[in-house]
Structures are given as C-alpha cells and as structure tokens.
C-alpha cells in the first residue's frame, strides 16, 4: 500500500466545541467556482430571497445555486474562492429572519422513489463536499444496478476534523440516510470507511450498526492519501476501476455529503452551511466552525482572534490545500478546512539527487521526477501517464531536495491537455 503516515494534528480541534457563526451580515454566493460554465442568473439587485431560494442555474449540470440566508440581493462582487481565483459572487444582505422556502411533498426519508430521490439531490444542489464538488445525483443516475455504497469518512489530510465531527454529532442521521439510500437504490452493501485509529467513531457507530446489519465499518490504515477514492475503492473491493467507481457498481460519497443528503431528503433543504476546521499557528484557538455558504471567512477569523502577522492562508488541508492571497475568501460546500500557518522561509529547492523517493511514494504509481524532466515533451508525458496524477502532494512532501514536484506535474498535466 503506497502512502505515508503523516503527523495528524487532529487533537487540536477534534474534541473542541463547535463554533456556530450563522448570523453573518452578508453572504457572497459564488457563481462560477469549479465546474460551472454557463450561469443563468435568476435574480436582480434588490431581489428579496429566502433560505433556499434559487439565485441562479448552472446550465451545464442543470443544478440550481441557492441562497444560504434570507434577505436582499445587494450587489455582485468579486471574492476569492477555494481555488485561489477571484470569482463573481452574489452579495446578499441578511435580514436575520431566516425565512425558508416552502416545501411540499415531504416523506419519510426512505419512502422516496429513485426518480424522486434523484430529483431532490438535483434540486437541492447536492455536490460532493469532500473536495471535488462533483454533482452527487450523477453518481446515482445510472442504468447499472449499484451494489456497493462506500461512505468516505477517512479524512486522511492532517489537521482536518470536520468529517469526524459530523459523524460523531450526527451518527444517527448519517446511518439512517445510508439505509434510506440503500433502500431507494436497492443497494446490497454499504461500507463506512474509517481510519483504524479513530476509536471514538467506531464506538459511536457501533451503537447503531446492530440495527442496520447491511452497513459495515471498514477500518483503513492511517496513511495519506487513504481517502483518495481510487485507493479506497481498491482497498474495499480489491479491484481497480478505470474512470469512475460505477464501473465496479460502486458509488462513493463523502460523509459530509451524506449528511447533506439527509437534510435534502428530510427537509428538501439545500446545502446552506457546513463545518469547516479552522486551525493553525495564527489562531488562539482552532476549532470546527459551522459557517454559512458564501460567508466571508475574515469575519470568522476575527471571532477566533487571529494575529494577522505573516501568515499563509490556506484553503483545504496542508497537503492539497491552496494558498489564498486574500482573507476576503468565501466558503463553498467543498471547503473543509482553513489553515493559517507561519509564512516561514520555505527551504529553497536544490538539485535532484535522483533518490527515487517521489516515484516510490506516488500513490498513482507515477514518476514525478521523470515528468518534471520531460515537462515539455508531451508525447513522453502521455507515456508517463501524467494525467493520472491526483495532486496529493506526496512527491513534494517527500522530496529531500525540496523540489515542488507536484507543481511541475500540474503544469505537465496542463501541457498534455494543451492548455
């Protein structure tokens, strides 16, 4: 099993009380942040919106973008989103009334037909909250019969404990939702993948699993990147897939996404908030924070009391996260952590000594150093399977010469795609 045991730093936040910051004055709902291409905006400046109002439609996935608070559309402003890019957002002023869009036809969560289920996922705009932001309904919208449902609660990146808290605090809802999804989609097996060392989660889930014998816990090694979908599927099903897990009749969902599905099925409620682990050198106390989607993170940081000197501001975990230039950064559904670390002088890279550690550790079995050496030779890059890179960052992590290999591989990927 390729990977490495990293220092987890999970104790910093995992048992801390969740900070709820659900009364922002403004939220900024990003329009184009990840896969969205063509946006059809449904509101104007001055429009009055409720929690769950449709602000815009993403024409590509045909999924709506919702308001996370009730209030009035003030303006369209530019903000940083998790990719590190500046994106257009809809600024909404909070009226603190928390009025919700009226919903009808609510059923018990396992009583929906598959068609209704898919519709709810789509209308509630449920997207993968583990990081990829992939529309969840597409995973279930398949002609082949799904046999395996894998719940990814591995959370292998250091520092992050958002998924951990979700499982601990909402174990009952999560188990019920898994059972409902299984019933609706006629899925035979479900596996909740948890790191071996997470004894607390196992204890909590054990209370419910006797009632739901179809759901099993799978303990996975405490290594990074164990939560990588491909690796996880291989670990559980002992098979490899080519493009998507559905080739092996499997669907993989992040555990936070499952909780979002719960809210969607139970209340037809879109994702309006999420848990974000906010931690790092610059904070007096790091913890998990319940923030609204579209909330400007600088407000939250002020509450947490951060010192503004010389900090790197990172969206995501320390391995795959990206630096954000500005604190005026808005939360999207897939942001699971904000990391503030000292902006030390990072060691300058030296000449590669060809130790082979990057090749040895690469979970995708690539040769990062060879990709770097052939960065402009597209033909060779294709033979080196450059596009299989998942950007986990282990090559850069392990390099004794401190070469930022991942960044070279990312550039190589762009070269292969002709970007």
């Amino acid at each position: 099993m390729r990977g490495i045991k990293l220092e987890g730093h999970k104790d910093l936040t995992k048992d801390k009380k969740i900070l709820i910051v659900d009364k922002p004055k403004y939220v900024y709902i990003p329009l184009i942040c990840n896969n969205e291409e063509d946006i059809d905006i449904r509101i104007r400046k001055g429009s009055i919106v409720s929690v769950g109002s449709i602000l815009a439609m993403d024409k590509k996935s045909n999924m709506p973008i919702h308001s996370s608070i009730s209030g009035r559309v003030v303006d369209f402003v530019d903000k940083y989103c998790y990719t590190g890019n500046v994106v257009k957002t809809i600024q909404i002023e909070n009226d603190f009334k928390d009025t919700k869009v009226k919903v009808t036809d609510l059923k018990e969560i396992d009583k929906y037909t598959k068609k209704e289920f898919l519709n709810i996922l789509k209308e509630c705009g449920i997207k993968g909250m583990g990081g990829a932001n992939f529309p969840t309904y597409i995973k279930y919208d398949t002609k082949t019969r799904i046999k395996h449902l894998i719940i990814n609660a591995v959370e292998c990146e250091p520092y992050i404990t958002a998924d951990y808290r979700i499982v601990i605090d909402h174990a009952k809802e999560i188990i019920e939702t898994i059972d409902a999804i299984m019933t609706i989609n006629k899925i035979e097996h479900a596996y909740i993948a948890i790191k071996k060392n997470n004894k607390d989660i196992i204890k909590v889930l054990d209370n419910y699993l006797s009632i739901y014998p179809r759901i099993k816990i799978v303990l996975v090694p405490n290594i990074y990147p164990m939560g990588w979908e491909r690796k996880l599927v291989n670990y559980i099903l002992h098979k490899d897939y080519n493009m998507l897990p559905i080739e092996l009749d499997a669907v993989v969902n992040n555990v936070s996404t499952i909780y979002a599905i719960y809210n969607a099925l139970k209340y037809k409620m879109p994702i309006t908030s999420r848990l974000v682990t906010i931690v790092g050198d610059g904070l007096k106390k790091g913890t998990n924070v319940d923030v609204k989607i579209g909330q400007d993170i600088s407000e939250v940081l002020d509450i947490l009391g951060h010192k503004k000197r010389d900090l790197l501001f990172i969206s995501g975990g320390p391995m795959m996260g990206k630096t954000i230039e500005d604190e005026n950064f808005v939360v999207t559904g897939n942001v699971n952590a904000i990391l503030l670390i000292k902006n030390d002088d990072i060691d300058l890279s030296s000449t590669c000594l060809r130790c082979g550690k990057c090749t040895n550790i690469c979970p995708a079995k690539l040769s990062p150093i060879m990709i770097k050496e052939n960065i402009n030779n597209v033909e060779e890059l294709e033979k080196l399977n450059t596009l299989k890179c998942i950007e986990c960052g282990l090559c850069s992590y392990i390099c004794p010469a401190k070469i930022l290999l991942r960044e070279y591989v990312i550039r190589a990927k762009k070269n292969v795609r002709g970007e």
Partner: protein
C-alpha cells in the same frame, strides 16, 4: 521555470539531501574504523608499522575525500567563475568529498598516495564535474576513478603488494581470495577458504581486499541501517545480490562444490560493498521501483558472467559502470510498467537469461572437470626406480583400452612403450610407420604441435591424451624438483639509475628467462619473459600446468617483498618447478647482481 514557494504542500518531510548524506557517512563509519583496525592497528600490534602507521588508512581515505573536494572547488572556480560564498555554497551542496571518499574505499591499501590523489581528481573531474556536477553525472564517479587507477596503475600497485597489507603478505600464502581462485588448480574448501582461515574470517572481514569491501558483516549492518532509515534504494542491493546468489546456487548445484562455495562467492570480492554503496548511488541508478529491480537483476547477471566466464577481476565495478549507462532504459520500463503490463516481458526475458546462463555456465564447468578426471584414463601403477618414475597407464582407445608404460627421469619422459592396443593392424601400422610415439616423446613439452594421424585419428589422439594426462599427474603430484639448476645472467642494461637484467635458469621443460629490474641492491620487479612451460589452459582449471605469468600477482610480489629472506617464501603448489625457478633466479640476482 520558477515555481512559487507559497505553493503546497505545507507539510514537508524533515528529510533532506544533507541528512541522507549524513546517514551514508554514519553507515560508512564502522567500515572505515574496521579498515583502520585491519590495516593500521593490527599492523602496529604485529610490529609491521610504527605508531603513525595506525592512521595510514585514515589518511588514505581523507586524502581521497579532500582531493575530490578541492578538485570540484577548482573546477567551479576556473570554469564556472564562481567566487566567495557562491563557491562555498555549491561545494557544500554538491557533496564534493563523496567521489574520492568512495574511491579510496575500493582501492588496494598499497596504492601510493599520489595515485589516490590522481584517482580522486579523475573521479571528480571526469566522473562528475564535466557532466555538470552533482545530479547530472551518468557514471558512478568513484568507480570511474577506480577503473582509471586499476587500468593505469594496477601493475604498479601489484608490485607493491596489491590488496594485501604487510601483515597479510607475511601470513597469507597468496593474493586476495578472488585472485587466488584464478591461481589454484582445483577448487575446494582447502584451496579457496583455508588459506584465509575459515568462512568466519570471510564474514567478519579478516581477508585481503580493498579498504572498504572486506567486512561483509559491517556492510550488511550498514545495509539494514540505510534501508530502515530510507536512505538508499534497497531494492538494488537486494535484487543484485539475490540474482547473483540464485545463479551461484544453480551453478553450484550442477558443479557440486558444496555449500561453502555459495557463501564464498557472496562474501568474497566487492560484491556486497559494491551492491550496497556503489550500485545504490542515487544519481547514477534508476528512480523507479521496477527499474531498480531490473537494474539490480542485470547487475547480478553481468557480475556472474564476468566472474565465471572471464578472468577479469573487477566484475562488480565493471558491471555497475556498464549498467549506469542503461539507467535511462531501466527507468523507461519502470515508469511505463505500472500502467502497461506488457513491459513485464523485460522481467521475463531477464529471468530466463538468469536461469539459463546459471545452468549453462555450470554445465561448461562440469565438462572441464570431466576432461581432467576423465574416467577413460587411469593410472594402473606408479613405481620409483633408480631416480626414474615408471607409470603404467590405460587410456580408452579404438576397440578397447590402450595400455602403456611411461618412464620419467627427474623431469622428462624418457620412454613410452605401448603394452596393449586394439586398433586394427593396418591402422596401427600407420602409427608405427610415422614414428608417432617417438614424436610424442620428442615433443613432450608441446604436445599440441604433434599432429594426429589422419587415418587413425582415434588411437593417435588417445595416445596423445594419455601422454598429456600422465605428465599432468606426474607434475601435479610428484612434486618433482630440479636439482642443481644452472643459472646465469644473459643480458644487462642500464636505464638511468636502474639495472635491467635477464637471468636464465633451469625450469620445467627447459629454461626460464626472468627480467629483473634492480636499483642498488634491491629488486624492483621480476617478470618471467621466456619459458617452456606448457600453458594448456588459461582458465583456473589448468589442465596441465600453471603458466609462470600467472604466478606474478601473488607469488612474485611476495618474493620481491621478502627479497632479503627468499628461502622463507613457499613455492606455489601446482607450479612448483616454475615458482622454484623464479625464486632461484632472484636468489641468484641477490648474490650476483650487485651494483657495479
């Protein structure tokens, strides 16, 4: 292309190139200390050197490292125009001392310090800097230096005692275990292991060899340490030694030397040191896992072939340098194999070659043995009679066994009498008519020059074989000696302050001429130049006799080193007459070749 340092990941492993190098040095430390003990402390205890001699091995190693460092600095100063801090920084970050340090560890202890210096300059300059320095060289710099030194100065180092330190020269009969194997006429525990003590000495390292390579124990400990700390590419030594081990097992199974032989092959020579420290040099070995395994397997394969099919002594070094050139190729396979199973063909082909050649080399060695101890030849009786030795022998011939009586005087055959033969009358008449048996008698020292009788090939060649085998037995077992040899100086030349003599003395098959170079009353070199010894086989399984030139490496050096007490030097078994003759020549020169 610049990449911003603010890019992730924001956790970094605490390992670094300098830490890797530090761990490498830690692993080398016990090996260096052992060498100081073996080539310094032990010599001091036994009274072969003064107090400062204890530190000689250390000086040797430090000189190598220091020279390399200075060479790199000079190179950067002259060609890259680096000055001041830049210069210091680049020397620190390029680990300039490594080539010379490793070079000194693979050189014989008797290498003159000046040559260590030259070798280190070559290692750094030709092996590393001209490629662009650290990280860019294709060939292992230390080995480039080592091959240079051994090619250019090997003979010179040989005359100074080669790999044997002074204590070993006195206590151990021959050369290094690997050279010794080339010299002995039959391979068995007594001839290969006994001269050096026991297998334990091989394991611990109390055997002659280069400075760093002898202690298998310490090298294995170093390997474990370097693997656990993730410092070296552990797959390379494992697949290298593993492949060599496998081939040796196959070979030994066919040839049947016994288990000791497998251990001997692994523990002797530079195999372990080379595989752990040289083949794993990060810069010159593959980066991909599968590429490393292929590289290791190829190294084992090539080392095996070099050791068994040639007499070339530097099998490990040569293999590594050769495979260095193919690293890119191994990495090509290693980088594609994960997504294209077709490349596993490379492993399949290599595995077939490994097993196939293991069997093949074993088979051809068995054939050689059969030639020597063939069952169709037998000595029926051997009697001594008035200084003559009378053999009755039998040899399978046409129609049945030929029986003959062969008589030797002190060193030559005086008569060959065929007692029984079953050849047809017509054909045997042909043999008699052509006086074939007399021809054999006359040309007994050059039997190959006697043509067989074309219409009676089987019998005539059987007769020749019979005579050859009887001589072989006589020479090999009787311990024949030449009494009252006649020795004379046949030429004398001056070359500046040295005198070059050619001295002639009686030896096997007639005379031997030895060229002796003297300075003052000291013999500098001695080289056999003309001799009548029949050198049938150049391989280690000499069928007939050992050529005097093969005595050079261990024996003649020993004579030169002990030139003040030549009588104390034992002659070489299997080459008794020639080695005695060379000794006689030197004794003569010590008496007669005085200055003036």
């Amino acid at each position: 292309m610049e990449i911003e340092t603010k890019l992730g990941p924001f956790m970094k492993s605490d390992d670094s190139t300098s830490k890797i190098m530090k761990r490498l040095l830690i692993a080398l430390l016990p090996i260096i200390l052992f060498s100081v003990y073996k080539n310094g402390v032990l010599l001091y205890i036994k009274g072969y050197t003064n107090f400062f001699g204890i530190f000689y091995p250390l000086i040797f190693i430090i000189l190598g490292g220091l020279t390399s460092m200075v060479t790199e600095e000079a190179f950067l100063f002259i060609f890259k125009k680096q000055r001041g801090n830049d210069l210091i920084k680049s020397v620190i970050s390029s680990y300039g001392f490594i080539p010379g340090l490793f070079l000194s560890l693979v050189l014989p202890i008797n290498t003159p310090l000046a040559i260590v210096f030259i070798g280190s300059v070559v290692a750094s300059l030709i092996g590393k800097m001209i490629y662009g320095g650290f990280g860019y060289n294709i060939f292992n710099p230390a080995l480039v230096g080592a091959i240079f030194v051994i090619t250019c100065y090997g003979a010179l180092i040989g005359t100074r005692g080669g790999y044997l330190n002074r204590y070993e020269i006195d206590t151990i009969a021959t050369a290094t275990p690997r050279t010794n194997m080339q010299l002995v006429d039959s391979i068995n525990y007594d001839s290969i292991i006994k001269p050096y003590g026991s297998m334990k000495d091989f394991f611990i390292g109390n055997i002659p060899g280069s400075i760093g390579e002898t202690s298998s124990l310490l090298i294995i400990i170093a390997f474990i340490y370097l693997t656990v700390t993730k410092t070296i590419k552990w797959r390379i030594p494992l697949s290298y030694v593993g492949t060599f081990f496998l081939m040796t097992i196959i070979f030994d199974y066919i040839v049947g030397y016994g288990d000791w032989y497998i251990k001997y092959e692994i523990l002797s020579g530079g195999l372990l040191f080379g595989s752990v420290f040289m083949a794993t040099d990060p810069v010159t070995s593959p980066v991909t896992n599968k590429g490393q395994i292929l590289y290791g397997m190829s190294l084992g394969f090539m080392t095996f072939l070099l050791r068994y099919l040639t007499n070339y002594p530097e099998g490990v070094m040569t293999s590594i340098l050769f495979m260095n050139a193919l690293v890119l190729f191994f990495d090509k396979i290693g980088s594609r194999i994960e997504y294209n199973k077709l490349y596993y063909i490379a492993f399949a082909i290599l595995s077939i070659c490994i097993i196939g050649f293991g069997i093949y080399v074993g088979k051809i060695n068995v054939k050689d043995d059969e030639k020597i101890m063939s069952s169709d030849f037998a000595i029926l009786s051997k009697k001594k009679n008035d200084g003559n030795t009378v053999y009755e022998v039998t040899q399978k011939g046409f129609g049945g066994n030929i029986k003959a009586r062969i008589i030797f005087d002190s060193r030559n055959i005086t008569s060959i009498e065929v007692l029984e033969q079953y050849e047809s009358e017509d054909r045997y008449a042909l043999i008699e008519e052509s006086d074939y048996i007399n021809k054999l008698l006359e040309n007994q020292h050059d039997l190959d020059s006697v043509d067989t009788i074309s219409s009676a090939t089987i019998t005539s060649s059987a007769l020749k074989k019979m005579v050859s085998r009887t001589i072989n037995s006589y020479v090999g077992q009787t311990g024949v000696t030449i009494t009252n040899p006649h020795t004379e100086i046949i030429s004398k030349n001056y070359d500046r302050d040295v005198r070059i003599y050619v001295v002639r003395t009686d030896s096997f098959g007639g005379k031997i001429d030895v060229q002796v170079v003297m300075k003052g009353n000291t013999i500098r070199t001695a080289i056999p130049i003309n001799y009548n010894d029949t050198c049938i086989s150049e391989s280690k399984k000499s069928e007939y006799y050992m050529c005097p030139e093969y005595l050079e490496q261990g024996y003649i050096n020993k004579l030169i080193i002990n030139q003040d007490s030549l009588d104390s030097v034992d002659t070489v078994s299997g080459a008794t007459i020639s080695s005695k003759a060379i000794k006689d020549a030197l004794i003569y020169m010590k008496e007669e070749g005085l200055d003036g």
